[in-house]
């Protein structure tokens, strides 16, 4: 066992686990987070996705000894009681069926929009293609990404205007 200090969703935690333990089980079982989920344990489906320093990582195959950086899980997307525009778009589009994969879908979409705020339909498909859904909510996931992109663009346009006025 070894002690690890993790910064997760802006809070610091210390855990004592074997260094080979995949991050997923620490997040779920030691930190009691429910966003990242076990889907395959093989980095094939995306259910366990987390952001580490803003990059998407599959926590089911990431040993604790390799975790370097600040972790954000689905729970950490909302700030000051406000849901992230992606989460709001997910509700507006009524995306999930069972919802088990949506952690991965939302985080993959966040990484896409952070890099490319105005993705084409093709870019959305390509970016999200590694993230699976067995309820087949893909069509609504893609619609929600487009909706969120618009909302973020609208919000930042409003913000810029305010700055000009100020």
């Amino acid at each position: 066992m070894s002690k690890f200090t993790l910064k997760v969703n802006r809070r610091t935690h210390t855990v004592d686990v074997d260094p080979t333990t995949p991050l997923l089980y620490v997040l779920r079982n030691d930190l009691d987070l429910h966003g990242p989920r076990f889907g395959c344990g093989l980095a094939q489906c995306g259910a366990c996705s987390v952001l580490i320093n803003g990059a998407i990582q599959r926590s089911c195959v990431l040993p604790m000894s390799s975790v370097k950086g600040e972790i954000t899980t689905l729970e950490g997307l909302s700030e000051n009681g406000q849901l992230h525009p992606l989460q709001q778009a997910w509700i507006a589009e009524q995306v999930p069926q069972c919802g088990f994969c949506q952690n991965g879908q939302i985080l993959a979409a966040k990484v896409l929009l952070d890099k490319n705020p105005h993705p084409t339909d093709g870019q959305i498909r390509t970016a999200l293609n590694p993230t699976l859904c067995r309820c087949m909510t893909y069509y609504r996931v893609q619609a929600a990404v487009k909706r969120a992109a618009k909302a973020i663009a609208g919000a930042s346009a409003t913000g810029e205007e305010k700055e000009v006025v100020a």
Partner: protein
């Protein structure tokens, strides 16, 4: 939008506040209530009673703050039925939708409506819910009548407040009338489905929330990470278990070397009985490692348990059927075939397709207080209770199942196997056990939709009219696994428990109302050599058998249309229109309505035979298929692109026209239809369980591909059609809302590929290599 405003009251909050207080004050139950997902130090001791469906109090609790909680015996695996129940019950009770909540599927606090299955939630199970809500409203009106000193017919109800019609200032709320007290009203009815009070339900035109696209109440917690799922339950002293499955199907366990893992950190126990083996460790990652490192030795079975998947259909052709259905015969098909001017024959092959749930099956079992509590996302929590009790030899009063959300379970999934495993291990070691199947285990060992081999024949007369039709199905379905049977769960098989006789299985027939003068339909079941302890065990998979049967029947209708020199849509409309058969469900009229609605939206181009092939690399075509399930009728149309050089197929556009009666939540239903159709698109393009003569070789998302984002159509239109001859009937019923949309998709895609390429694919799935081989054989692969 703040987090606060979008998170509905969670089950645990409801249970821990309103209901607990209410129950305490009302003395309803002598049990404390569990809080799913939260560590419990004091689980309820039992015995766990069956909530009495004849007591109004079992269905509805009204709180001091004039809110209501509905308790229903259903589960909602993500189709939104819980929200729809609230819409219907809020309407009957006359209370604002946003002041209601719905608790589902936990055996000790909700009446037994069987959980979910068969798309019956709204069609059948909502009926007693509506009647209970209507009865509660009636009783509250009587109470208000006494309180306000006025006869009921002089009272008005608006949003859970009853007032005098003549003087609205004289009023009393539901909460003031009943909160903290019991209704103490006994319902009548021989079973839960017929439970009723004295009140009549409203005509559907008077339902206010029903028909509105209200947002689903389970979604916010699924997107903000706050939902506690079945797999998230944590209990004091809980340990983690993993199975060690036989490496070869039908193998016999010779030895288990506990010493190989005893020294690993967190070791608790190795347990085995018969050929069932599991490891138990303190932590989850330790259990995974323990299962990997445990040394076991196995003896291969003397004979191969099954043929290779490549040889499955040859095997099925040669096999001696274990049973045959009595043929369904109409008219005189033999004479028609003898005198036919033209005969058409075709044979279709649909392989085993798995549930392959998004996550491995999971369940947690808590043996505290000498009872057994199971936390599970299985859709049939009530039969799970009985199954676990019988499997363990416990009285069922000592077992309860708490239903929680989980990965999709469309039918007889492996959730039931995991639950019995967790329960057995928990009983053996007297500690709470969380059992989680791994990916390879889920893909290889879950239940499979049966493989089908379907031969069809048609006879046309000299005028090219269809006169006779023959359907002959062979389903590889012997020893079909039922729901929550203590002698058919996988752990029972592995422990050597055997039913007296294997379950016979079935071969299903097509559902259509085509007017064909002479018909014969026959179903035969065949079995694989290994029928016990097998990873190729069959069980109900979403719209059981529908996609297989309809792939054949609706592909063949297109083949007959070609022979009749007719457009495939026109041919169907003609066969439907010609029928004069008794049709109490108006299926014929509604079938015509959905086909016409789909054609109008799609912009159906009429033509006989395939589209003239263009010169490009990508060929395009359109296809149609139709079917019904129960009273729900569906027509689907697809536009596909086929890359003639790679064999890749993309369904670019899909239209689904759907008549399932009264629509409770239109946007919710559209999404269910989309997802059902795309699930079958995945089965059309990708899904096949592969195996060699020792084991299933489909073990993950590489060896068992599924639909992905890039496969999704550019446009999907779901049209909700009401083709009832009396569309405004006051008693219009909702019909089955989900599974019907899974049925016609495989055939619609195959028919579109034929239109694009002139090549008829009769073997599912249409993976690129198979499509390319067929195009090459027909010389279509080159421009």
């Amino acid at each position: 939008m703040s987090v606060e405003s979008v998170i509905p009251r969670q089950i645990e909050e409801l249970l821990s506040s309103h209901r607990r207080n209410f129950l305490k004050s009302a003395g309803l139950f002598a049990v404390s209530l569990a809080t799913p997902g939260v560590a419990q130090t004091n689980p309820p001791p039992g015995p766990y009673r069956d909530p009495d469906f004849r007591q109004l109090d079992s269905w509805i609790v009204i709180h001091q703050d004039n809110t209501a909680t509905f308790y229903v015996g259903k589960t909602d695996p993500g189709q939104g039925t819980g929200t729809s129940f609230r819409q219907l019950m809020a309407d009957e009770l006359d209370i604002a939708f946003n002041r209601t909540a719905c608790i589902m599927g936990s055996t000790d606090i909700t009446v037994n409506q069987g959980g979910s299955g068969g798309s019956t939630a709204l069609e059948y199970d909502s009926r007693p819910m509506r009647r209970a809500a209507a009865e509660a409203r009636r009783v509250l009106l009587e109470m208000a009548s006494a309180r306000l000193g006025a006869p009921v017919d002089q009272l008005a109800v608006h949003d859970a407040v009853i007032s005098l019609q003549a003087d609205p200032s004289k009023r009393v709320s539901y909460g003031e009338l009943i909160a903290g007290k019991r209704f103490n009203v006994t319902l009548t009815g021989n079973n839960v489905m017929s439970a009723t009070g004295l009140a009549k339900v409203k005509p559907v035109q008077q339902l206010k929330y029903t028909g509105q696209s209200l947002q689903r109440d389970d979604i916010p917690a699924k997107v903000d990470g706050s939902l506690k799922w079945a797999g998230d339950v944590k209990l004091p002293g809980m340990v983690h278990a993993r199975n060690v499955k036989p490496p070869y199907a039908g193998a016999k366990l010779l030895s288990v070397d506990e010493a190989s893992v005893r020294g690993l950190p967190g070791f608790v126990r190795v347990l085995s009985k018969g050929n069932y083996v599991a490891v138990v460790f303190e932590r989850e990652e330790q259990a995974i490692e323990g299962a990997r490192q445990l040394k076991t030795s196995w003896e291969k079975p003397a004979a191969a348990p099954f043929p290779r998947s490549e040889d499955l259909f040859e095997y099925m052709r040669a096999a001696v059927p274990t049973s045959k259905s009595a043929p369904v015969v109409e008219g005189d098909p033999d004479t028609s075939f003898t005198s036919a001017a033209l005969k058409v024959e075709a044979e279709y092959e649909i392989p085993f397709q798995g549930h392959t749930s998004f996550s491995g099956a999971v369940a947690t079992a808590d043996p505290s207080n000498g009872q057994m509590t199971i936390y599970s996302n299985d859709m049939k929590s009530y039969s799970m209770r009985t199954c676990v009790a019988d499997f363990l030899g416990l009285h069922r009063d000592r077992v309860r199942v708490v239903w929680m959300q989980g990965a999709p379970s469309f039918g007889r999934s492996a959730c039931e196997d995991a639950a019995c495993e967790a329960a057995w291990l928990a009983k053996e070691i007297a500690r709470p056990v969380r059992m989680q199947w791994m990916r390879d285990e889920e893909t290889a060992w879950d239940t499979k939709g049966p493989a089908y081999l379907i031969k069809m024949r048609g006879a046309l007369d000299a005028q090219r009219a269809l006169t006779a039709y023959e359907y002959n199905a062979r389903a590889c379905d012997y020893n079909h696994t039922g729901y929550n049977e203590p002698d058919s769960v996988l752990i029972a098989h592995l422990m050597g428990i055997r039913r007296k006789t294997p379950a016979p299985g079935r071969a299903s027939m097509p559902s259509d109302v085509y007017a064909i003068p002479h018909r014969r339909m026959l179903g035969e079941v065949v079995g694989l050599p290994l029928i016990w302890e097998t990873p190729l065990r069959t069980g109900n998979l979403r719209d059981p058998d529908g996609p297989q049967v309809t792939f054949a029947s609706e592909s063949f209708i297109d083949e007959l249309a070609l022979a009749a020199k007719a457009d495939p849509l026109e041919f169907r409309l003609q066969l439907l229109g010609a029928s004069a058969r008794e049709d109490s469900g108006f299926r014929r009229a509604r079938s015509l309505a959905v086909l016409q609605a789909a054609a109008a939206k799609f912009g159906w181009e009429k033509r006989v035979g395939p589209k003239p092939r263009g010169k490009g690399q990508v060929l395009t075509g359109r296809g149609v298929a139709y079917s019904f399930r129960g009273q729900s009728v569906v027509a689907q149309m697809a536009e596909v692109e086929v890359n003639r050089e790679t064999g890749h197929v993309w369904a670019k556009r899909m239209v689904c026209a759907y008549d399932c009666g009264l629509v409770v939540n239109p946007e919710g239903l559209r999404r269910v239809a989309e997802c059902g159709m795309l699930h079958s698109l995945s089965r059309a393009l990708h899904e096949e369980v592969m195996f060699d003569t020792e084991k299933v070789t489909s073990r993950d998302w590489i060896s068992h591909p599924t639909l992905r984002h890039a496969d999704v159509p550019e446009t999907i239109d779901v049209l909700l059609v009401n083709g009832d001859p009396q569309p405004d009937r006051p008693d219009l019923s909702p019909y089955g809302g989900g599974e019907a949309t899974c049925k016609p998709t495989l055939a619609a895609i195959a028919n579109a590929i034929f239109d694009a390429t002139g090549v008829r694919l009769r073997r599912v799935p249409f993976r690129a290599a198979r499509v390319l081989a067929a195009l090459k054989a027909a010389g279509v692969d080159r421009v």
